[in-house]
Symmetry: C2
Subunit: 374 residues, 2 copies
Amino acid sequence: MQILERARELERAGRDVVHFEVGEPDFPTAPTVVAAGIEALSTGRTGYTQALGLPALRAAIAARYGVEAGRVAVTTGASGALNLLAQVLVDPGAEVLVPDPGYPCNDVFIQAAGGVARRVPVSASTRFQLDRGALEDAWTPRTAGVLLGSPANPTGSVLRCADLVAMRDFVADRGFVIVDEIYNGLVYDAEDALAGEDLLFESALTVDDGIFVVNSFSKYFGMTGWRLGWLIAPASAMDAIERVAQNLYIAPPSVAQYAALAALQAPAMAVHEERRRIFARRREVLLDGLASLGLSVAQRPTGAFYAYADIGATGLDSETFCERLIEQFGVAVTPGTDFGAFRADEHVRFAYTVDEREIAKGIERIGEALRSLG
Amino acid sequence: MQILERARELERAGRDVVHFEVGEPDFPTAPTVVAAGIEALSTGRTGYTQALGLPALRAAIAARYGVEAGRVAVTTGASGALNLLAQVLVDPGAEVLVPDPGYPCNDVFIQAAGGVARRVPVSASTRFQLDRGALEDAWTPRTAGVLLGSPANPTGSVLRCADLVAMRDFVADRGFVIVDEIYNGLVYDAEDALAGEDLLFESALTVDDGIFVVNSFSKYFGMTGWRLGWLIAPASAMDAIERVAQNLYIAPPSVAQYAALAALQAPAMAVHEERRRIFARRREVLLDGLASLGLSVAQRPTGAFYAYADIGATGLDSETFCERLIEQFGVAVTPGTDFGAFRADEHVRFAYTVDEREIAKGIERIGEALRSLG
């Protein structure tokens, strides 16, 4: 966030900045989705909806998973979903295991509910994901559950099915498993190309029906500022979720919900798929560029729009590296310390939410930076 | 909420229902605001904004109060504002004093932050508001602050300036004062007509600059489903508020923010003022109707769009009364028990968010109901 602000400051002062720090697709919302939003506005659909969202939208989301609509809550972004789940599942003083590195806001959702996020280090040896062994080691009597992400931020890593099954088996009656799938759909390797890896390309719900799943219209569906997401929960949890949703949010934004109905339909889906192909090409340009600079990415990212690169060889810690890059070379990159503590000083996150030319320009500038260090 | 759901159920089954239960204006958003929303959509303004909102909107809100824009946070509804303030101001285990009856979600915001809402009974003798004596009696070493509402839900009562000053003086260094002003602007008595009453027609900020103020575009500005509100806080609290806002919400809805800029301008304000006049006429029709039925309203409501009526004379508790009304007479009214515990059994809330003809029809039906009881 500080890097993003500094980058904007420099731009206002006339500097040209290459943005590798932005966790938001650079595409506008698909035209048919915008048109549906305009239609909703034009027809006065600006009142509160039901607390858990429009029945038609809940049904459309449910159909994607083959679950009952009653298990879907439409939320104010994935943020709303994570907040509701933390409020419902985390008792004061309880611990929730989260991977380190991971999405930094998770800690705050858990803290806001009175719990404690316990960061468990992950590395390339487990695809930057938790596994059963890590859970067994970290689980204590105070542990309430685990919050995973797949594809993950900041590493773009995807869970292995077998790991998820093993973790679910271990957690079983001990607590809950939440999988944040906000980057679901943004996966760039052909499934069969990675068949041997046994990766979870679908939702975690396909592995176990009792897992709490979070998703959003923000990333794959390109609707960040609309603030709309959803969760799928076991039927038994829905009354508690509805009560908290009514009280803390009243309802998710109305116009966004009508627009989201269009986001799930074929014309918009064609746009989203085209954008996925664009992200796939950018990933190649970025990864090739980083390799050419000698910056290693220990785990080739399967999805999301991030690469988590090791900058240990530069001899700089990640915050100093990022500060030098933005101040001296006009390249904005996020330090690993934004995502946790484990080896965070040796890593930075690149987001490929800019076009290929910008990526190439950024790589060139980083090349200069590395030469000036050498 | 149960009444609202039951009313919709009956309507789907073909029954005609008069709605006195809906806490949402029945007007669509003003045309120029809708047009600004469409313009924002058409020009692709669908990305995240700053966590505390668009600088132009913060500045426009700040100008209404004569405060610095840095003290304004645009939020996801007043709900977002109340949640942020509870998270920032309430430590686990701390108590917050709230009036009983009052807005029921307040308890949940405080609980979500780990605190405890302590309900303090209020009655017509203090205009259904807390006063210094009540605070002194209820304050304990665990009390962190007080959360007031003016105009208040469910009573429509407005704080007396002298009471607010006295409460602020008492709270001083002991804790915080939050005033939820979500119904600000929806006041129906001419200020000079009530001059002797010394009522707070303006914001509580005019009384003391250190008070935390919450407001929203939902009620006076007719933008419920857009989910947009704001808070004003002392400058020293803004860093903490921003950090929590970034983590729990990312940003308020973008299109709503662009639309809200238009909501503050003259053409929309003329629409809002016309609607206020409509609410004022409805209030008269409702209050006259209730009086004709012998249902007393102990404190004539000054603002909001509610009347809190005493049904003790019917011999029924409020939930039974409301159930009979909806089931046998097709009139939806909210039981006092939705708003607290103090004499809640003897009260019901009427919302005049339906037109005068519907109000008259409802009064007629309630007359039948009362005769069938007599």
